[in-house]
Symmetry: C2
Subunit: 174 residues, 2 copies
């Protein structure tokens, strides 16, 4: 008899969560998809794998489309959009709207975090601050809101490369 982590039909879900909490690499299996009512098709497996194998990766639908095409896989853009939406609803991915008007997705590893985005090179770093989270909850309570989600994005220029430098040059012109 094999041991399984978790309980009954939902074991896939719990083991996935556990892996995530333990910071082990996460690999979504065909069964994981089936348990969420999604058929394990090639496009879906490759899309989720792309997110899982990229570190700190925030991608638009176009990004996913392009990267899969580079790997010789020609998946229609409509399918990418559909699958990303389904994965977000299934909790596998998180969607964000940074300053641009395109949605970006990242893998959901179960650790909530916020983002700081470089407006010049597009670099995204993640952070978590318990104090900010606490204050947010207090404010929601004061205002009598039942908060279900929040978005905190810091926008600026990173020290890497010439981003901060270029920014100064630009503001000198104006």
């Amino acid at each position: 008899m094999r041991y399984s982590i978790g309980i009954g039909r939902k074991s896939g879900y719990y083991s996935r969560t556990l892996r995530s909490i333990q910071h082990l690499p996460m690999t979504t299996t065909p069964q994981d998809l089936n348990e969420r009512g999604l058929k394990a098709t090639l496009p879906r497996l490759r899309i989720i794998r792309l997110f899982e194998t990229s570190r700190d990766c925030h991608m638009t639908a176009e990004d996913v489309y392009r990267r899969l095409k580079e790997d010789g896989l020609d998946i229609g853009l409509a399918t990418i959009y559909r699958v990303l939406t389904q994965f977000e609803q299934a909790g596998l991915l998180l969607r964000h709207h940074f300053e641009s008007d395109k949605a970006v997705y990242e893998i959901n590893r179960g650790h909530h975090h916020d983002h700081i985005v470089c407006l010049h090179c597009g670099k995204v770093e993640e952070f978590f601050d318990a104090e900010i989270e606490k204050r947010q909850n207090e404010i929601a309570q004061e205002k009598n809101f039942e908060v279900v989600d929040h978005a905190l994005y810091l926008y600026g220029y990173c020290a890497t490369g010439d981003c901060a430098e270029r920014r100064r040059a630009e503001s000198d012109e104006g």
Copy 2:
């Protein structure tokens, strides 16, 4: 000789700022627009007035279009978009992207604040928290980012009306 607040050509700008800091009602005059290099046209004056005379008002381009039309003023939607963009660049308005895919604008009264948005009725409340602001700056410094902007939105269900109640009903279904 008349006293003026501020210095030389920029007096309009400084007096406007002062009014705002003193929480006095803000009225953008034709001269205010001229000083920003914008001609004082009827569409522009009516649009800025609409924002100035509405309390806690967050409006999309469509909202502005509709409300001016209700007042018997038929301004093209393209003009609304153009003027809102110009006003944002001139610092008269602030632009936000809440969870929907439409941009919303509000008057810039010079007091920074964040937003808590009801996902059911669309109500928007404003808040300011010095502790959150402080932590944001510390994080940016740690990460070596020069932050120029940030967005903090809390999404939830407000206690007014049946928003929280309906939310519970919905999650019971799912």
